[in-house]
Amino acid sequence: MRRLLALLLLVGGPLLLLFRRRDGHRERVSLYYDDGSMVTLERGAPGSERLLELARSAL
């Protein structure tokens, strides 16, 4: 059981870090509305390029 847990930590830990780092560098737009809903536009989605460009100019 201990070996299995150690194996899970050894394999799962780096994978989790890798996925989180990749998500952190992904370009995306999150829109929040008054009804509590949220829409996420990934790069390439309709309308996202204009928003990404505007944000780039703000930075």
């Binding site: 829109l31 509305y33 928003l51 505007l54 703000a58």
Partner: protein
Amino acid sequence: MSSRAEAVRLADVEPAAALADLTEISSQIETAAVFHSDGSTLASTFADDTLAARLVGSARELLEAAAAGPGGEGRTLTQLEVALPEGSVFVVRDGELAVAATTAASPTAGLVLYDLRTCLRSLAPSEQSAAPRRRRAKKTTADA
């Protein structure tokens, strides 16, 4: 009105003071500006007014473009985040006032948005924030 409701009400503060509080609370925020819906900048963290105007201009265009984009039918956009590898841009609006902010890459979006909303609420406390909280009904235990 109960004294409890008064205790949760946020005091009106000046935009510059609200921004100072914001940058003190949120270490993730690098630059920020409070602006009116007509485009006038009320306060900013920039020493240079042209930089503040650029951030406000971009924020207004972001709000307009996002509201006109997909997903906004019948709903009002209240806040947005654009995440880029070099950093993120946040815009939150409440009525006629809005605040825009930039952060480094991979910020904790929920915290930043919460801090920006708090900043806006301190400028224009709504009736909702002053409304008394509904008390939970006491549980009654049946005697055995």
